[in-house]
Symmetry: C2
Subunit: 108 residues, 2 copies
């Protein structure tokens, strides 16, 4: 299970990726894991949240539009495979987070 | 299963609600359904996407910050119950959607 991301005081940016998968699994898990691992070591990555029950929603958080662009450019091949093999339908939305409120455990 | 929302050309607004539930179910499904139904008849509502597998992510889309404010004010009691009874932890992020790309079936 994905955790709730701990993000800084806004403004920052979010990529909302909503998808419905195909039945094709080859390479999917490995590529998804790789994209998350690389995001974590790239500049400007703030966190990620993910859930799927039929519809999948993955939200990644970033310091800037430049950081999003760099991450997407580094994964152009993965996005091409996703489009052709793994996703039946999908939408990518790039957003500026304006406000945030939360109730999260202090001990996290 | 929730569908991918059909949203207009940006800019528009998104509310990303990420949560972990408690074990308390009383009133939850009814209230959640009611909030979605009321959103659909309120001005400025553009769509909603939802998935949960441990972590829950619900994203609602709106024409304006004013429409979001009206919806949240109409559901202040539901949000209070959510905070006290149904959600262990949660985060609400209000965002301005700047760009969108999609591959969706034409026939939708």
């Amino acid at each position: 299970m994905s955790d709730i991301a701990r993000t800084p005081t806004p403004p920052y940016y979010a990529v909302i990726f909503t998808s419905v998968r195909t039945a094709v699994d080859e390479g999917y898990e490995e590529t998804a894991r790789n994209m998350i691992e690389q995001a974590r070591v790239m500049g400007g990555f703030l966190g990620m949240e993910s859930a799927r029950d039929g519809l999948g929603i993955t939200v990644s958080y970033w310091e800037s539009l430049e950081a999003i662009r760099a991450w997407r450019e580094a994964h152009a091949e993965a996005m091409r495979r996703g489009s052709e093999e793994w996703y039946e339908t999908f939408t990518t939305r790039i957003c500026r987070v304006e406000r945030e409120s939360a109730r999260l455990p202090d001990s996290f």
